[in-house]
């Protein structure tokens, strides 16, 4: 009995570890971000259209960076959503077991490729291709970044959506088929709506992954802090800004605190994504 209680306390302490880490991270991000708003008015930050952190006087405008993050996230979703959902639907409803066993590991393997490799591939091979095919001045732009992020979020969407489709009771399918519906009608009109919340969760988590991805966009998005007028313009997502500028910034400067303010924005938006995903999941209950 005594030994059991020791183990229980031990396990409790271990599980508290992530909570403590999270608290520590939140406190330090917001703690370091607060001094920034003493120097730069909050409204100037969220409505500013220019990001020139080291000019005299500096400009700390969030909009171009936020626009960069949003554009590549939406772009990535446009790529991964149809492919990911199609993959999930095929794997769970149509594929023969043999095909499924071969295809599924490949989709999952895609998730295991480190993002720096995607970035390198994008920079050296994909960007010059995009530049030639679309006759744009430069291949490092929102379009190329979206393509890569789309491929990167594909496994998230495909595997979570497939799990959702699989968890739809077989009886529903059998009932539908028995009433004379074709396989396609059953998949799209019965199974897909039944798995709706699971599929929404997969989309939200996929979008969260795309918005939080750093290395690939740092290498491929081009890094220009402008609100893009075309998908072929370079952009500078929030994550890439923090990664690129943190190394050389003078500690304690306004710029340093500005990067923490960006981190806070990023943290809050990924938090929203996760809460959204949890709520969708909870609704299914």
């Amino acid at each position: 009995m005594k030994r059991e209680s020791i183990i229980e306390i031990l396990l409790c302490t271990v599980s508290l570890f992530s909570l403590v880490s999270l608290m520590g991270i939140v406190l330090s991000i917001f703690g370091e971000a607060i001094p920034f708003f003493r120097e730069v008015p909050f409204l100037d930050f969220i409505t500013g259209k220019r990001w020139y952190p080291t000019s005299e006087p500096p400009c700390f405008g969030l909009l171009p960076l936020l626009a960069g993050s949003i554009v590549v996230t939406i772009g990535a979703m446009l790529v991964s959503l149809p492919i990911g959902l199609g993959t999930a639907l095929y794997l769970s409803e149509f594929a023969k077991p043999g095909v499924r066993e071969i295809l599924k590991p490949f989709v999952e393997l895609l998730a295991g490729i480190p993002s720096v490799i995607y970035g390198f591939f994008g920079m050296v091979i994909l960007a010059p291709l995009v530049q030639k095919i679309f006759r744009v001045p430069v291949g490092l732009n929102a379009f190329t970044a979206s393509l890569l992020l789309g491929v990167m979020t594909l496994p998230t969407i495909a595997s979570i959506a497939e799990d959702a489709l699989n968890s739809v009771p077989v009886t529903l399918r059998e009932a539908s088929l028995a009433l004379g519906a074709t396989k396609w009608e059953t998949a799209t009109r019965i199974v897909l709506p039944a798995a709706k919340s699971g599929i929404l969760t997969s989309i939200v988590l996929g979008a969260g992954r795309a918005a939080g991805e750093t290395m690939t966009v740092l290498m491929v998005a081009g890094g220009a802090a402008v609100i893009p007028r075309s998908i072929f313009q370079p952009v500078r997502p929030i994550t890439a800004t923090i990664a690129a500028e943190m190394g050389e910034v003078a500690m304690g400067s306004v710029h340093y605190h500005a990067l923490f303010a960006l981190a806070a924005v990023l943290f809050l938006s990924t938090l929203c994504f996760n809460i959204l995903a949890e709520r969708i999941k909870g609704r299914e209950g």
Binding site: R50, W51, Y52, P53, T54, S55, E56, P64, M123, V124, A127, P128, Q131, P137, V138, G139, L140, L218, M219, G222, G223, A224, A225, V226, Q233, P234, R236, A240, A243, A244, E245, M246, G247, E248, V249, A250, M251, G252, S253, H255
Partner: protein, 270 residues
């Protein structure tokens, strides 16, 4: 098991009684520090030098925190950092260990071979946006710059931009290597990199009539050059001084030159 313990013991043993030097900072200076440290440690087995990157800002911050002995920097210390140092009662001393030229590069297929500082400034601020305005084939100029907080950008800003801002839609690359790759793969691109990174994938242009080379940097004819620093707390002393002296010695400066940087002094002609 006992053999394993002995192994651990022996591998830890050299650390006892050894002198440890920590070096952190600019990624531009990193290869010099790394290479010099390897040779220095071979000669002085009792010394243990650990070299890390992180960037000039990180290096100086660590120097002030006391977590590094030498801070590599590709820019002079900033007012703000100096103020922090004073608050902590630290006197950061700079030693120039090498110089670095900044080469302005274009795609090898670009017919433009020379630009003036004025033209480069106008290209980077957006006043000039087509190659035909500087004697090239008509086509959009793709401006590639380094990130706002990179030491290379800081020097470029001071020497070329004269306080003006880089056009907001310029590509911002995170490293010298990234600038090189982007310019090498983009026919309309212009960029700038440390002299040590120059390769045949790109073409360096003459700036104000002078081609970038170690010789033209040392003689001062090539304008786009900067000193590289090692910062210490107070004047270097002990092993730290020995190490910095080694880099400044003719042998150390030969390493500097081998790595594509420019020695502080011209080596004597043979």
């Amino acid at each position: 098991m006992r053999r394993f313990c002995l192994f651990i013991l022996f591998s830890l043993f050299p650390l006892y009684g050894s002198k440890t030097v920590t070096i952190t900072g600019s990624t531009t200076v990193l290869p010099i520090a790394q290479y010099a440290a390897e040779i220095f440690m071979q000669r002085n087995p009792e010394v243990n030098i650990s070299v890390r990157g992180g960037g000039s800002g990180v290096g100086i911050a660590n120097l002030l925190d006391g977590t590094t002995d030498i801070a590599n920097a590709s820019r002079p210390i900033k007012e703000k950092e100096l103020k922090r140092a004073k608050e902590k009662g630290i006197n950061p001393v700079a030693t120039i260990i090498a110089k670095d030229g900044i080469a302005v590069i274009v795609h090898p297929s670009n017919p433009v071979t020379a630009l003036t500082l004025e033209q480069i400034r106008k290209i980077y601020t957006g006043e000039i946006s087509n190659w035909k305005e500087v004697g090239g084939n008509p086509g959009t100029i793709v401006v590639v710059s380094r990130d706002h907080s990179s030491g290379t950008f800081e020097v470029f800003k001071k020497m070329v931009l004269e306080g003006e801002k880089v056009r907001p839609d310029a590509i911002m690359a995170a490293s010298n290597k990234a600038v090189l790759t982007t310019v090498a793969k983009t026919p309309g691109a212009i960029g700038y990199i440390g002299l040590g990174y120059l390769s045949s994938d790109v073409k360096a242009v003459k700036v104000d009539g002078v081609y970038p080379s170690p010789e033209s940097v040392v003689s001062g004819k090539y304008k786009l050059a900067r000193p590289l620093y090692m910062y210490t707390r107070g004047k270097p002393s002990g092993v730290v001084k020995e190490f910095i002296d080694f880099i400044l010695s003719p042998e150390g400066q030969k390493i500097v030159k081998e790595l594509g940087f420019v020695p502080v002094r011209l080596p004597e002609e043979k």
